[in-house]
Amino acid sequence: MSRVILWAAGAVLAVAVPFYLEGFWLQAGLFAMAACVGAIGINLLTGATGQLSLGHAFFLAIGAYAYVYFAAEPEGDLGGLGLPTPLAALLALVAAGLAGGAFSPIAGRLRGAYLGIATLALIYLGQHLLFNAEPLTGGYNGRAVPPMELFGFVFADTPELVIFNVPFGALERLWFLGLAVVLVAAWFARGVLRGRPGRAMNTIRDHEIAAAVIGVPVGRYRAGVFVLSSMYAGAAGVLLALVFQQTVPEYFGILLSLDYLAMIVIGGLGSVAGAVIGAIFVSLLPQLLTRYSEALPLVAEPGSGGVSPAEAARILYGAAVVAVVLFLPGGLLGLAARIRATVTRRVPPPSLTPSPDSPRS
């Protein structure tokens, strides 16, 4: 019951947000949503199956650039297919999945640290391609991202749209698209994790040989998860491209990959909720600190010397990773669960019907 109220409150909040918050927060929220989708993907791979990947940014890039290529009309030297945008977005997911599949000869053979570092190659190769395959990528200039158009509704600033006196620009419209994508992504990953595949994946993570002994097709699972996680990254890439409105090749570098790893450790490994919490934490922290740098002690305003907000955000973020592994096994999600457990032990549960999924999640 309390769960339903929570969900309803959440839904009301999520829908009301674009009516009240200014563009800055909407955009921060959209970046966080894209991060959620990407983090769920890498949590399937690294958190649930135990495969370290530093190449997540590469698959984000594939998603973003493939969407632009499929959706854009060819223009001058720049190629494009001019497909309807929803189809382009789907094909972008497929492209990211195929890229992940193409990597599977390596992903299937390498273990642990070796796989992690081998995926680094993807980042360097990816950036090289983004800068040099100009007819596809636009080179260092990047390319303009065609706005998504669903059933005649355009996710852009024009044509103008005013709902209840609030002007609905690209960010307000994308907010709802982002929400929908996150919900679908979370729902699907939850299904995977709770079902048979999820248990198989966890077994591979915990003991690969044992998994093979009990009949889990280890190689197939590892390759499959790699492809699935790449598709999640591709979806995040498409969403990011729509928010950015222009692709920026510099963005898809090693730091982005590291951010994603930090997200799942901070949030909680191996679960959807953990990925979401971590993604929100990592993407909103710098924005919050920058926005409120004037009001925070110890944080100096940019340009005035002292610890700047950007530095403070980096330090807090590094410290969060360390603190989580030292003191909070299970990440922020684990902390939330522990708090809930403490509270419910004191307060008798309001309803006798057990909710079907309360012990986990």
């Binding site: 339903v4 009301v12 955009q27 990047g142 209840f164 006196n165 510099e250 920058t290």
Partner: protein
């Protein structure tokens, strides 16, 4: 199952609440006319109130261009402080807001989204990848923006003002200088070391154009910002028999290249783009090589220029930030702030401080000058504002680590050069 009816009630209640919230709309976002006319008869737009004009700076204080970002930001803060001291603009004081994006596109886009609705101008924006990413939005927002980058891809937008020369124009003037004064002849090969990305590749456009016109060959070496050791590149230049080397990379790469080449006995002149030098390098072992035969092409005056405006700036800057290095970022930032200040003053004269008013006032200036150096034409935006480059040379004793070697001049080649607008 006994939950069900209550769930429905709750959901209905929630929906009702939502509808109410939306309909009543206490939101500040509700539509209102952005342009208004204040009590003093001056039309105002976003970022301008009755007593305040907000100026944004989007800079890099924690990323690869931190040293440049710090100088530019502080110099601009100094300018606006002086401006306010002298009474401000239009009876309003100028308030600066600084956002550090650390050369990260996402943070830059976020900073822009935050500041754009409440700023009247962007006094400087570091990083052409970031400005390029936002080019369409800056145009749509009509927000006058001064990028601190000089790639040709930034031209062609009415709201974006690239100051003085672009990298390609600098390189054309540089090649012209090599031919006229450093004995490079038709048929010679010149090396060009450049960064991947718009900076290096803009510069390469210029050197290629000049080489074609003068009958020279360009031997290219493309590197990335993470490359630190230029030994392999020197070996390649040596084997190609280059007679001079152009550098459009970072200060570290320039120092490494020049250092290695000189120590290996390559006695050729080096010509760098304006971002290929930093005075900090003179404290490193690369100093003697840099002092030997290295020249930097730049559209802005160095801090050691014997001009009253620059001398006053140097003294004021030193007084305000006694512990900080003075480099070319100080003069570049200050003159960009002057451009902004003058645009605001002109807009005030026309009684229009709306975004459109500020841009119109700015673009109305055909011959703007900071009181020194080259004159800039702001009325065109698909051309560099100036085609005159200074040639400066590293110098240990000079303020800012460099002195003027040749006063600003435009070569005949650069005069006729058709700028590729991106």
């Amino acid at each position: 199952m006994r939950n069900k009816p209550r769930t429905v009630t709750r959901a209905a209640a929630a929906a009702a609440l939502l509808a109410l919230a939306v309909a009543s709309c206490a939101s500040e976002k509700a539509t209102g006319g952005p342009a208004a006319t204040g009590g003093d008869g001056v039309k105002t737009g976003p970022g301008v109130t009755a007593d305040k004009i907000t100026v944004a700076m989007m800079t890099d204080l924690t990323g690869p261009y931190a040293s440049l970002g710090k100088s530019i930001t502080q110099a601009q803060q100094l300018y606006f402080e002086q401006l306010n001291h002298a009474g401000g603009v239009c009876g309003r004081t100028v308030e600066t807001v600084v956002r550090d994006h650390g050369y990260d596109a996402q943070k830059a886009v976020a900073a822009y989204t935050e500041l754009a609705p409440k700023s009247a101008v962007v006094a400087h924006f570091i990083g052409s990848p970031m400005v390029l990413a936002l080019k369409q939005r800056i145009e749509a927002d009509k927000l006058l923006t001064i990028p601190m980058a000089w790639a040709t891809g930034l031209l062609g937008a009415r709201a974006i003002q690239v100051t003085a020369t672009t990298y390609d124009v600098d390189m054309i003037n540089g090649v012209d200088f090599l031919v006229k004064e450093k004995g490079i002849k038709k048929g010679d090969t010149i090396g060009h070391l450049y960064f991947e990305g718009d900076y290096g590749e803009s510069a390469l456009d210029g050197s290629k154009y000049a080489a074609e016109k003068l009958g020279l060959k360009i031997f290219e070496q493309k590197i990335k910002a993470t490359d630190q050791d230029m030994s392999a590149q020197v070996a390649a230049f040596k084997s190609a028999g280059v007679k001079a080397i152009l550098i459009s990379a970072g200060p570290r790469q320039a120092a490494s290249l020049v250092g290695v080449a000189v120590s290996k006995g390559m006695d050729v002149p080096f010509v760098g783009s304006n971002s290929a030098y930093a005075p900090q390098l003179l404290a490193t072992p690369a100093a003697p090589a840099l002092l030997k035969d290295y020249y930097i092409m730049t559209g802005g005056a160095p801090m050691s220029a014997k001009e009253p405006v620059i001398e006053k700036l140097a003294a004021d800057y030193k007084a305000k930030y006694p512990n900080d290095v003075i480099d070319s970022g100080v003069s570049a930032g200050y003159s960009a702030a002057q451009i902004v200040g003058d645009a605001l003053k002109k807009a005030c004269e026309a009684k229009d401080l709306s975004r459109e008013g500020i841009i119109t006032a700015h673009r109305g200036q055909k011959a703007w000058s900071a009181g020194y150096g080259s004159t800039q034409d702001f009325s065109v935006f698909d051309q560099p504002a100036s085609r005159e480059s200074y040639i400066v040379k590293p110098d240990k004793a000079a303020l800012g680590g460099s002195v003027i070697y040749k006063e600003p001049a435009v070569s005949d080649l650069a005069k006729d050069y058709p700028v590729p607008v991106g």
